[in-house]
């Protein structure tokens, strides 16, 4: 029975090559494309060697040898500095500016939704905040609670994105920790205000200010930080347990 090609190619040096290139800062998209083309090339070479009469195993070995040594394949890619990712070239910028931009974008969206909900559900109210106990399934309650979740969850969501980027590019955990610290401080110090009386035209005024306030703010920052970092810690724990000794 012929050996399936997928089994034949399983023990290739590609996983090592992938790790080596990612750790050297080559952008994941370039690594993916390089390995995909190498894999196609290897398939063609193996088929060629088999037509010369080699057994599938011998053809696979000969094809790998023709493809190039792991060192030469890695060095050829590493000789292209423009293939390095922005994250590898300027991690300080990516991990400090990107979370700020993402958080600002999500918070802006949330505040727009707040303004819209205020207009739809509470057109006469001076402020959309503090409107008595509502039924859980009341559309107004669901709308404002979902929007509140978006606002409060944004720092955690952005933190997860930054951790994912760091894991994907095999970066030190130090950089996403910087992001998480920035996000936790912003989450704990931000305060949203909405008041129709503040602007004479009656359109309503929504603002966000940042200030250190006593007690609970520090605990909230810690909670945001821990919630953001929790999936990373679980992932590390899982990979540590499942990796061979």
């Amino acid at each position: 029975m012929p050996t399936p090609l997928s089994n034949l190619f399983a023990p290739t040096p590609f996983p090592e090559l992938r790790e080596r290139l990612l750790r050297a800062g080559i952008a994941p998209r370039h690594v993916r494309r390089y390995l995909s083309e190498l894999s196609d090339h290897l398939t063609d070479l193996t088929a060629e060697e088999q037509t010369r009469g080699l057994s599938p195993t011998a053809a696979g070995s000969a094809a790998l040898a023709r493809l190039g040594s792991p060192d030469s394949l890695a060095n050829a890619a590493l000789a292209q500095p423009e293939a390095r990712s922005l994250t590898a070239r300027a991690p300080w910028a990516v991990f400090s500016l990107t979370p700020l931009a993402l958080l600002a974008a999500i918070w802006f969206l949330s505040l727009c939704l707040l303004r819209l909900g205020w207009q739809i559900f509470l057109p006469q109210a001076v402020t959309p905040f503090g409107h008595g106990p509502l039924q859980f399934f009341d559309p107004q309650n669901i709308y404002f609670q979902l929007n509140r979740s978006l606002y409060l969850g944004a720092p955690i969501l952005v933190g997860w994105c930054m951790l994912l980027i760091a894991i994907r590019q095999r970066l030190s955990v130090l950089w996403p920790i910087v992001s998480l610290a920035i996000l936790a401080v912003l989450a704990a110090t931000s305060h949203v205000q909405a008041n129709r009386e503040a602007v004479p035209t009656g359109l309503g005024h929504i603002s966000v200010d940042f200030a250190f306030r006593p007690a609970a703010q520090n605990e909230y920052a810690l909670v945001v930080f821990l919630l953001a970092v929790a999936p990373y810690l679980l992932w590390k724990f899982h990979t540590h347990r499942t990796s061979p000794a």
Binding site: E37, L38, L45, A65, G68, L73, A76, Q80
Partner: protein, 127 residues
Amino acid sequence: MYSPAMAPRETNPSFMNGVPELLILSLLQQAEMYGYELVHAIRDRTGASIALGEGVVYPVLHSLERDGALTAQRKPVNGRSRIYYSLTPTGSRRLSDLTDTWTTLTSSIQLVLNGNPNGAAHAHPTL
């Protein structure tokens, strides 16, 4: 499993700087090709005198593509997806420059190898 001992003897890398790029651009000027096809063409046209790890051609192709000298297009062929590379006008100009440089360089080296004492005077100073 791969063993470095299986690798064929490769051409001295010190003499190969810029050569793959020149060969690739030259071959793609004639027709669009995918990586495996291109490596075959290099081997056939050079009489297998230039031996490279075949996989090292891809970073060179990607670099040329990033520089705008090549374009890459994925095409289905015989039930498989292939990435075909073709030369752009920028690539044609680059090939022309590289060909001039290479021709001048080889002529100059040939003069030295032939023992012509005035060879250096005939060589282009821009090299």
